[in-house]
């Protein structure tokens, strides 16, 4: 083309430098028909213009129906004729996390998804969602998501379109896929499975690798040892009287944690026969450990020895007959070498399991090596628990090679083109594998991802991935139930899903809808219905009912168990960690999971339940460990293993095993986005492929610097005066007793407060119609934090950032108060372990509200149905109400926290709730918008509001169903009944505030001979009259 530019005189005439030097960008532009690739990108839209574009898109989508079959989202197709603007609609969809699909129902407001709830039809959700999965909504609207493809050429980035990519993709894949490798996360999706098969058929020479930092691979491998088949263990806690968790944080860190929480909490009903008992042995302090009736702290490496000791006790003391194939394995088990506390725990567990044969379950967490899982399977079998309190299902896992093999292939020059579908291996691959370095060995690298993250930045091509809420997809629940995902909105940023990319690879360019639907059709799930009806009903429900896999019970494999025996011998020999050789344990982050949600403000600002840490990870250790290692709370330390190191602040909390140091994965991101970058330190840098979950003997050296962790509650370390007073108070605030004591005297909780009769200064209001009340069952609450995120999403609660949290200005309307409890008379210097008590705390809507009386402008008022309402418009912001609030649940907008939000983020807001401006007080409203919505409907339909019709966001998502809401004036309502429950009490009732939120006292159920009694404050004598209050 050069002659064009050269005139006869020899001069060059040119229009731009790009043209002159002929950059690839320019070449590309010349080839393209429409050089400006930005023209069809969704501009950063205001709500109004977004609606316009959406409306136009829908109208034009109708036009396309003339020629092409439209993708249909079934309920929408039904409703579009009489769709009412402003009336929210609900669609079932799903998210796949850690290889298991979780059903959701998403609220869509005028085409805009605004809130994710659990899908009551889905077996792993049962109407609840975790804190993490609820925050998906915010992730979808994240302005940091990548908005177009990027090609990296010669160190420069060029923005591209899918149309640019397709021809390149074809040439990169070649004819038969020779030199092509795919790296993907393990998935349960049948469509993914189908597309993988299609891909492998089309490109027979290609190879497929799988990697995810958090999987249940150990469990699968353990089951393979025991049964020669990779099975999933499905605990049935509704049938379990005795639950023994070995390093299993099943209430938080399990694909089916929501269902397990529901079943566990349902089993906490106080009666001698039905209340379950939870035994926990774990290295760190987890939410499950906090719920334990009897807990023992044991290092990660010694959990195997402890389970072995239980096995030995069962065989030797209780003469339990083990399956023949397991003889070799059982022979390796012994009760030797336990410390006193461990031995006592083991004895009691064994006795309890024997007392409840067939009604117990032993659970082993994903961090334990396969042999431990195999041993647990053997014990569950021997105790007759299988098919009662635990079942096994075969999901037919596809074999794939791991990331080590991929790196080997890369280094061996066998990979020319690497296609990475999702994931972020540059960030989360084990450090010793060297993925980062090996990546550059491939000639072409392609990364499909939601963000232009660490991996994308190193790849030649970055492709924008469609968000889960923008995608068609499917997956299997933990028990195998077929789950469908449908898009709530057209992809905001031109993304495509992994299955669509695979389809492009084989040249079909099928859309997600067709792929998912054809998989559905092929699976023969229609049954007696027509395919169309079955599909529509499955989409509507989000699940295919009855598609759960039937339980499998293959015979034990003596060969596999022999392998397990050998492994167990090695495991049992592992010494307990010491000050000189501590153990570093990796934990899945309860908020940002493996780090993929690091750019999510809701999750970063969510206080972790036990430490209340926000915006950081830390090195967690017990007080005596810290003392013996010469460390203090807040010290910044360098943790080094195999000459790789990270800096972490120390956080001291009671509970972790001695010299077992826990760190959460998922922090220290560099390519997460403006929210997640630089938050915490990446523990992946210390992770090795040989031992994914712990490091033995890392060196921990103090840097001499201190680091302020943004916690929402006081640290464990506190001045003596505060400490002593807290000890005195907590027993009153969070009432607890052992089950035995409660059964003996059900009135025990009512004797716990002393106050004179409460007399009203003025005539109290008499309520006709409704007056609302709430009850929170502390016996069920597991501290999972789901309510906090639910409230944040529902009520447009702002994220304020680390600095503001450090300054104690977090805005959460509901918070989780966490207290540690040690026995009376314990030596403060020797405390290493403690019981944990949680108390969700929100505005208790006092009938005699101290806030209402002091507001000079009457901006906080009582409503006709008894709520303490905030009138944002009227508030001038004196903060007097917050000062006078005895529970400190009022939150003040110190700044305009929404000022810098991008337009796309604003689309998440719930239009039913005012977005509060600067200088205004806010607080829990009992989700008054939900109350009013039901009230309007019931008014229109002229029928009374029925009990359970109104559910605040926190109650709706609570997996333990610990929060109940209803009309106190209705004698038939659940809430009225709960007030009669002897466990019901009001916090700070002695102030005569008459709270509308009552708590149900917590019961602990330690084994009979163990007097780890959970007593509250000493009761007063029965001759002393105790206050009566009327609310």
């Amino acid at each position: 083309m050069s002659p064009l530019n050269t005139t006869e005189s020899g001069h060059k005439y040119w229009r731009s430098l790009d043209e002159l030097v002929r950059t690839p960008e320019f070449e590309e532009a010349v080839k393209r028909e429409f050089p400006d690739d930005e023209w069809d990108r969704l501009p950063p839209a205001s709500r109004r213009s977004f609606l316009k574009v959406m409306g136009a898109s829908m109208a034009f989508a109708g036009l396309t129906g003339c020629r092409w079959p439209a993708e249909e989202i079934v309920p929408f197709a039904h409703r579009s004729a009489d769709r009412v603007p402003g009336v929210p609609q609900y669609f079932a969809t799903a998210i796949e996390l850690a290889g298991s699909a979780l059903g959701m129902v998403v609220t869509s407001f005028d085409g805009r998804p605004i809130k994710a709830e659990g899908n009551p039809e889905h077996p792993d959700s049962l109407g609840a969602l975790t804190a993490t999965t609820q925050a998906l909504i915010l992730e979808m609207y994240d302005p940091d998501r990548s908005r177009h493809s990027v090609q990296r050429l010669g160190g420069q980035d060029f923005s591209r379109t899918w149309a640019d990519f397709d021809p390149e993709f074809g040439s990169m894949l070649g004819a038969d896929g020779a030199g092509v490798a795919v790296l993907a996360a393990p998935s349960s999706s049948p469509s993914r499975k189908k597309m993988r098969q299609a891909f492998e058929t089309r490109f027979p020479e290609s190879s497929w690798f799988e990697w995810a930092p958090v999987t249940d691979r150990n469990e699968g491998a353990g089951m393979s040892m025991a049964f020669e088949t990779s099975l999933r263990v499905v605990p049935k806690l509704d049938h379990a009287q005795v639950i023994v968790a070995f390093d299993a944080d099943f209430l938080n860190d399990h694909p089916a944690s929501l269902r397990l929480t529901r079943q566990f909490a349902a089993g906490r009903k106080p009666s001698a026969e039905t209340m379950n008992r939870l035994w926990v042995a774990e290295p760190g302090m987890t939410g499950t450990g906090a719920m334990a009736d009897q807990r023992v702290a044991v290092s990660l490496g010694r959990v195997a020895a402890l389970l072995g000791a239980v096995a030995a006790a069962l065989v030797n003391d209780h003469h339990v007959e083990m399956p023949g194939a397991a003889n070799g394995l059982i022979a390796q088990c012994s009760a030797d070498g336990l410390v006193e506390a461990e031995a006592a725990w083991v004895q009691q567990v064994a006795a309890d399991l024997i007392a409840h044969r067939g009604d117990g379950t032993l659970m082993v967490g994903r961090r334990q090596p396969p042999a431990v899982h195999a041993l647990a399977a053997v014990l569950n079998n021997a105790l007759g628990n299988v098919n009662r309190s635990v079942t096994y299902v075969d999901v037919g896992a596809q074999a794939a090679e791991g990331i080590e093999e991929l790196v080997e292939a890369l280094n061996g020059g066998q990979v020319e083109t690497l296609l990475i579908l999702g994931g972020n291996p540059v960030y989360d691959a084990p450090a010793d594998v060297g993925f980062h370095e090996a990546l550059s060995k491939a000639k072409h690298t392609i990364h499909l991802s939601l963000y232009r993250d660490e991996t994308s930045q190193l790849c030649e091509w970055h492709l924008p991935e469609a968000h889960a809420l923008e995608s068609w997809g499917d997956g299997l629940a933990w028990d195998g139930t077929w789950t469908l995902a449908q898009p709530l909105i057209a992809p905001l940023f031109d993304g495509h899903t992994a299955i669509e990319v695979l389809s492009r690879a084989i040249g079909e360019k099928a859309v997600g809808y067709d792929i998912v639907r054809s998989t559905f059709a092929d699976a023969g799930l229609a049954g007696s219905k027509s395919l169309n009806d079955a599909w529509r009903s499955a989409l509507h429900n989000g699940v295919v009912p009855g598609s759960a896999l039937s339980s499998a019970q293959p015979p034990f494999s003596s060969e596999g168990l022999a392998t397990a025996a050998a492994a167990l011998t090695a495991l049992a020999a592992r010494p307990a960690p010491t000050a000189g050789r501590p153990e570093l344990v990796f934990a899945v982050d309860p908020k940002v999971f493996d780090g993929r949600f690091a750019n999510n403000g809701w999750l970063q600002e969510l206080p972790e339940a036990l430490t209340t840490i926000t915006w950081d990870n830390a090195l967690l250790m017990s007080p005596l460990t810290a003392r013996d290692m010469n460390l203090k709370d807040g010290d910044l330390v360098t943790v080094e293993a195999s000459s790789r190191f990270i800096d972490l602040p120390v956080y001291v909390l009671p509970g972790p095993a001695s010299f077992s140091l826990t760190v959460w994965l998922g922090y220290g991101r560099e390519g997460a986005g403006q929210v997640g970058n630089g938050v915490g330190a990446s523990a992946y840098r210390l992770r090795t492929v040989g031992n994914l979950w712990s490091v033995d003997g890392p060196t921990v050296t103090s840097t001499g610097r201190r680091y302020a962790l943004a916690t929402t509650q006081d640290h464990w370390a506190i001045d003596l005066i505060g400490f002593e007073s807290r000890q005195l108070r907590v027993g009153q605030l969070i009432r607890e007793a052992s089950l035995d004591r409660y059964l003996e005297d059900p009135e025990t909780f009512r004797h716990m407060d002393h106050h004179p009769p409460l007399v009203s200064l003025w005539k109290e209001k008499v309520y006709e119609g409704e007056q609302w009340g709430m009850a929170i069952d502390l016996n069920a609450c597991t501290g999972c934090n789901a309510c906090i995120v639910a409230c944040q999403a529902e009520n447009n609660v702002p994220v304020v950032g680390r600095d503001q949290v450090l300054n104690q200005r977090e805005m959460h309307w509901i918070r989780l108060d966490r207290y540690f409890k040690t026995p009376e008379g314990a030596d403060l210097d020797e405390i290493d372990d403690a019981q944990v008590a949680f108390q969700p705390m929100t505005c208790v809507q006092c009938e005699m509200a101290p806030c209402e009386q002091v507001c000079p402008v009457a901006a906080t008022q009582h409503t006709e149905d008894g709520l303490n309402a905030m009138v944002y418009n009227r508030c001038v912001g004196t903060r007097y109400c917050a000062n006078n609030c005895p529970l400190k649940v009022r939150r003040f907008n110190f700044f305009n926290y929404h000022k810098d939000l991008e337009e796309v983020s604003k689309m998440q807001f719930n239009p039913e709730v005012t977005v509060r401006s600067r200088g205004v007080m806010e607080k829990c409203s009992f989700c008054i918008q939900r109350i009013q919505q039901v009230r309007i409907t019931s008014g229109n339909e002229n029928c009374p509001i029925t009990d359970g019709e109104i559910t605040p966001a926190c109650a709706q998502t609570c997996p333990a169903q610990a929060i109940h809401f209803g009309n106190l004036n209705d004698p038939e309502s659940v809430i009225s009944a709960s007030r009669e429950n002897p466990r019901s009490y009001a916090t700070l009732a002695e102030l005569n505030i008459k709270p509308r939120v009552h708590y149900m006292a917590r019961l602990r159920n330690p084994a009979g001979n163990s007097e780890q009694d959970a007593g509250g404050p000493p009761e007063h004598g029965h001759d002393v009259p105790h206050g009566k209050e009327s609310a």
């Binding site: 001045d719 007073s725 009386q853 002091v854 000079p856 402008v857 005895p886 003040f892 110190f894």
Partner: protein
């Protein structure tokens, strides 16, 4: 210098002679001397260079205040250190501090007037001016501390189309009424008392601008008998009106805390405790200001050592009252058996804010004990340092009450620790800028000593009879007519 030092002994009028009372004005001055001294300051064409230095400094601090308020209003209350348990911090502490200081003036002019404490005449104008300026400083803080300053007028019961009234149950609203009433009455009282003196300056003025300006301010005062008659009646009435306000304003300010539910705030001792504290701090501030002023403007003969000693005695008395209140609080916290209350006070003394508590106790209880000793009461330098320490202590008293109570209330999960930001600090410092700017302007352009009243307590006012004794005597027999009128006439003639 040496001669002057030798002469200084006559300035000590603090000895109590059982035969006759020492005079309140020294140096054998005539009415004319008093007028010349006081008006001389206003009329002196050459402003003292020191005045410019102080005024420049004050003006810059006022600028800082303005900048901080602008920053606050444009950015949000978050620029202060406030947070979840501690919703009120320095702003409210400063408010109570300034209101407290604003107590001395009206107390001196109204209550001491009613109690016939004649020595008040030398310092009352000065103290009243200080009151007005302190209340002006105080008034800023509640206004700017709200989250939405632009709607702060909702705190006033202004009829509006929304039919929305303020909440009359809120102590904060009572506060609005109490402080605004107090400010209004104090201003009236101060200004009205100043009219005869303004007329004197007007009469002596030579420059036409001064003639007009002081002429307007003097409101046509002609010093007629009728004027004096009405003036005295009005003065008495306003004094009677202001007297309950002195007690009520700080009582109502204390209701902000006492009516709440927070341990450490919710106590019935607050009204008298706050009033005593306010008088304490008010006198301390008067002493702090008057000592350098009398030295710079050479007013030792009018504002005598005896005046200072009297104020030291009042500080001793009110300091003891405040100390009693501190100990009563502790006693009640223990005696009530209320665990929350008990903890709050232990926490004050030994918790994270113990440093503030012990500063408060040292400055407010220990420092005034010096005043038992006459040598210390009459040592001007020591008195001045002590008065500053008392001011510091009284600021910390409010800090302890407001912040330490809030930082740890009922639920241990919500406990916190409040620290101010630079904006908090500079706003407070800036409020001194406002105070001193106004004060320096007053010293330069206003009659800082009530000439008419001072003359009324001079021996010459009583037909040459004896000295001061008459007024402290049992029966002031010859109060025939308006004594100050005669005094005034002599000056005017």
């Amino acid at each position: 210098m040496t001669t002057r030092t030798a002469d200084l002994s006559y300035l000590n009028n603090t000895t109590d002679d059982p035969v006759g009372r020492p005079p309140l004005v020294l140096g054998g001055r005539t009415f004319g001397d008093v007028t010349n001294t006081v008006c001389g300051i206003v009329e002196n064409p050459r402003t003292p260079p020191l005045w410019y230095v102080f005024f420049g400094l004050s003006l810059s601090l006022l600028g800082v205040l303005g900048a901080m308020i602008a920053y606050l209003i444009f950015t949000g209350i978050g620029v202060w250190g406030l947070q979840s348990p501690v919703g009120w911090g320095w702003a409210i502490v400063n408010f109570v501090f300034w209101v407290g200081i604003g107590h001395a003036g009206t107390l001196i002019s109204a209550i001491l007037f009613l109690l016939r404490q004649k020595w008040r005449t030398s310092i009352n104008r000065f103290a009243e001016a200080m009151t007005i300026f302190a209340v002006a400083c105080a008034g800023i803080f509640p206004a700017i501390h709200v989250g939405r300053v632009w709607v702060v007028y909702w705190l006033f019961p202004i009829p509006n189309q929304m039919s929305m009234w303020p909440n009359f149950r809120s102590p904060l609203l009572w506060d609005v009424f109490a402080v605004s009433t107090y400010a209004t009455v104090s201003l009236l009282f101060w200004y009205m008392g100043m009219i005869p003196d303004l007329a004197t300056i007007r009469d002596r003025a030579k420059h036409p601008v001064r003639k007009i300006a002081y002429g307007i301010l003097a409101l046509g005062w002609r010093s007629s008998n009728r004027h004096w008659h009405r003036f005295e009646s009005a003065y008495l009435l306003l004094a009677a009106l202001a007297t309950p306000l002195v007690l009520s304003v700080h009582s109502v300010v204390s209701f902000d805390f006492a009516v709440s539910i927070i341990p450490g705030w919710h106590t019935t001792i607050f009204p008298p405790y706050f009033v005593a504290g306010a008088i304490f701090s008010g006198f301390a501030m008067v002493v702090t200001l008057i000592i350098p002023t009398r030295a710079i403007f050479k007013l030792e003969e009018i504002i005598t050592l005896r005046h200072l000693e009297n104020m030291a005695k009042i500080m001793l008395a009110t300091g003891m009252m405040v100390g009693l209140a501190y100990s009563t609080e502790f006693f009640m916290a223990w005696y009530s058996g209320n665990a929350y209350e008990g903890f709050t006070f232990l926490n004050r003394g030994f918790g994270p804010y113990a440093w503030a508590y012990w500063i408060m106790v040292s400055c407010n209880v220990i420092v005034p004990q010096l005043f038992w000793v006459k040598k210390f009461r009459t040592n001007v330098v020591l008195l001045w340092i002590a008065s500053i320490l008392i001011n510091v202590g009284m600021w910390f008293e409010r800090f302890v009450i407001v912040v330490s109570s809030l930082s740890r209330d009922f639920l241990p999960s919500s406990w916190g620790y409040y620290s101010p930001t630079f904006v908090d600090v500079l706003t407070f410092v800036g409020s001194f800028g406002l105070f001193f700017t106004l004060f320096l302007l007053f010293l330069r352009f206003g009659p800082m000593i009530g000439m008419a009243e001072v003359k009324g307590v001079m021996p010459e006012a009583h037909h040459g009879r004896g000295a001061h004794g008459d007024y402290h005597g049992d029966v002031p027999t010859d109060r025939d007519g308006m004594i100050p009128v005669k005094a005034k006439r002599e000056v005017v003639q």
